[in-house]
């Protein structure tokens, strides 16, 4: 209800930032921004058919109220930003991408920040390309997340044993916080099960580099990974 109300307010705002950019002022290099977006892709989808994954989809991010997408479970901090009426525009997105936790202290986004201002503008130019508004360029090509590891469908189909996952998760919770807090160690709470499974198999095969995670994932079998994925997805 609260969310609906705020959306209405956004819609009525006479000068949404997206509209303010009606002249499509050039802010950066879209193609370069698309390449920079590679580092975002493991969590965010954008373009036709984009859906919420570990992070919310980013179609129409310009002009969107922070924390406003239905069907995505935001951190408490992001919900507070929603309550405060934070709107994603060039200025707020730039600040957020530069240092996510400086803007949203308890965000679950495990991204350290992009220091270079030109990089940020290029990335934002790409994101703006995917924001539907009158002046916008046609939708960019579908950018479905390329899987890091090709897993046979039977592995992805395993239904995780949540009770087993709860025990196994106690090992994860020494470092990863159950509440999704992120201070130097990323949140793994509320990840879509498939993304969780793929990430763990990527560590297991040493495609992802972190040595602790390679070790942890290395000794988990397919059922154990599925159990963990089920547990973390189902957390309150």
């Amino acid at each position: 209800m609260r969310r609906l109300l705020a959306l209405v307010i956004v819609a009525l705002a006479p000068m949404g930032p997206a509209l303010a950019d009606e002249t499509a002022e050039l802010i950066g290099d879209v193609e370069r921004g698309e390449r920079l977006f590679q580092q975002c892709r493991s969590c965010h989808q954008i373009g036709a058919g984009a859906d919420n994954r570990i992070g919310p989809h980013l179609n129409g991010i310009f002009g969107r109220t922070a924390g406003a997408l239905d069907g995505f479970r935001y951190s408490r901090s992001m919900e507070r930003a929603f309550g405060d009426g934070l709107i994603w525009d060039l200025r707020t997105l730039d600040a957020y991408i530069e240092n996510p936790r400086a803007l949203i202290s308890g965000t679950r986004m495990s991204y350290r920040g992009m220091a270079d201002p030109q990089d940020r503008m290029d990335l934002l130019a790409f994101l703006r390309d995917n924001t539907a508004s009158p002046q916008d360029i046609p939708e960019s090509a579908p950018t479905a997340v390329r899987r890091e590891v090709d897993l046979p469908p039977e592995i992805l189909a395993i239904v995780g044993d949540v009770a087993y996952g709860e025990y196994l998760a106690s090992e994860c919770l020494t470092c990863h916080r159950r509440d999704g807090g992120d201070e130097g160690i990323p949140s793994i709470t509320h990840w879509p099960e498939e993304d969780f499974v793929i990430a763990m198999h990527a560590y297991k095969r040493k495609l992802r580099p972190h040595p602790v995670m390679q070790m942890m994932a290395g000794r988990l079998n397919d059922e154990e990974i599925a159990a963990l994925a089920a547990y973390f997805a189902a957390l309150d």
């Binding site: 919770l173 070790m215 000794r219």
Partner: protein, 419 residues
């Protein structure tokens, strides 16, 4: 449901206050946990949380404010406030319904299944968890005993000892000498003495750059040695001298009255002497008759004592196999034990135990390193199945990330312990 636990927590006389939960507990199985550190607090919390009230949990811990040993070196180095490593038990009592008793456990009657408290109380149990940490071996460093800890601190149990050591280091005269007497294996936190050296060096380099650091070390090798030595060369060149056993580092005595250290016949006048003696299981393990030599042997499948099926022992006090004595290890072991205890008392599912450990150390600002391993139980011991360690020559960005990761771990594990 709320049998005035807050009142219980605050009660001065544990003996009289114990009456209430004892009466109430008749219908529910009782678990008593001795020691509120990384092993005990975690075990109490997981048993209470996962049994959802089906098990009556009492946690016995003498201190009201617990200072974690991990990160106490960062306090000494000036990277943390002491208050940032201080924790209390209010959440475990209020939100998890754990009976927190601030008293010393002084005896265990394993036949009657009771724990005796210094304050005179007696607490009955169905399953007992001992997680008392370490005590020091008497006479390990000739000339030093606990009565000398006010002059020559160990600072190997965090809190007032950490404060004292830091004060002494800050008060060192220009060009003064800090001596560490390092412990023999096995001991709590294998990289701990060397992280401490790094933190002392960081402080002295900034405030007293002509001061000297001497380590008398009975061990030929130590944890993450190549990484520490590389870091010391890089950040604190010429400041640190380590005397290993080949130069008499194991032949050490101290004289607290005149603040001297005798290393293999050479007498050194020191301004600070940090004596970290040889260690053994916390005294309650011996009092309960559950030790063999200095440590308490356990079965790695559940951390149950090899001498009593109703007693589980966690963390530094145990002899379990390959896991280092660390807060991370104790926390990991506590979860396996909590699961086994719930299974035994309530019939909940029990899965095969898995263990892990990672130890982060800070060498200099934003220069963090780590070592870790995964473990699984065998019939004989908890055995290492895979491991990793930071590499020499890593770039500054990776070291910074490793340090930041350690901060995240601290937040994570303390939330996992104290709720």
């Amino acid at each position: 449901m709320t049998l005035n636990r807050r009142g219980f927590l605050g009660a001065a006389a544990a003996a009289s206050a114990l009456a209430a939960p004892m009466v109430r507990a008749q219908a529910r199985p009782r678990v008593v946990v001795v020691g509120g550190g990384a092993g005990g607090a975690t075990a109490a919390r997981y048993i209470a949380k996962d049994s959802q009230g089906a098990i009556d949990v009492t946690l016995i811990e003498p201190t009201r404010t617990y200072y974690t040993c991990f990160f106490s070196n960062l306090y000494i180095g000036g990277f943390r406030e002491l208050s940032s490593i201080a924790h209390t038990y209010g959440t475990l009592a209020a939100e998890y319904g754990i009976n927190v008793v601030h008293d010393w456990a002084v005896g265990v009657d394993r036949d009657a299944r009771t724990v005796t408290l210094a304050g005179g109380g007696v607490v009955g149990y169905d399953k007992l968890v001992l997680s008392p940490g370490i005590d020091f071996v008497d006479g390990a460093v000739p000339g030093w005993d606990l009565s000398a800890q006010g002059r020559m601190p160990h600072a190997y149990k965090a809190g007032t000892q950490s404060e004292l050591l830091k004060r002494q280091i800050m008060a060192m005269p220009e060009g003064g000498t800090y001596v560490m007497v390092a412990p023999p294996n096995p001991y709590r936190c294998p990289p701990g003495p060397y992280e401490r050296i790094s933190m002392v060096a960081h402080h002295l380099k900034t405030n007293n750059p002509t001061a000297k650091i001497i380590i008398a070390d009975p061990k030929a090798k130590f944890s993450k040695q190549a990484l520490f030595e590389e870091g010391w060369q890089k950040h604190y060149s010429g400041m640190i001298e380590r005397i290993g056993p080949d130069f008499g580092g194991e032949n050490v005595s101290v004289n607290p009255a005149d603040m001297t250290v005798d290393i293999d016949g050479e007498v050194i006048n020191a301004d600070v002497v940090n004596v970290i003696p040889a260690q053994k299981a916390g005294a309650i393990c011996d009092a309960a008759g559950l030790t063999e030599g200095n440590w308490a042997p356990v079965d790695g499948h559940s951390m149950v004592s090899r001498m009593d099926e109703n007693v589980y022992i966690l963390g530094d006090a145990t002899n379990q196999g390959d896991m280092p004595k660390s807060g991370f290890s104790a926390n990991s072991q506590a979860k396996a034990a909590a699961m086994a205890i719930r299974g035994a008392l309530t019939g909940s599912r029990v899965f095969p135990a898995k263990y892990s450990n990672t130890c982060w150390s800070l060498i200099a600002p934003e220069d963090g390193i780590k070592v870790g391993a995964a473990y699984e139980p065998t019939a004989e011991k908890i055995a290492s199945v895979s491991s990793f360690v930071s590499q020499t020559g890593e770039d500054a960005a990776l070291r910074k990330t490793t340090y930041e990761e350690s901060l995240g771990w601290y937040a994570g594990i303390t939330a996992d312990m104290f709720g």
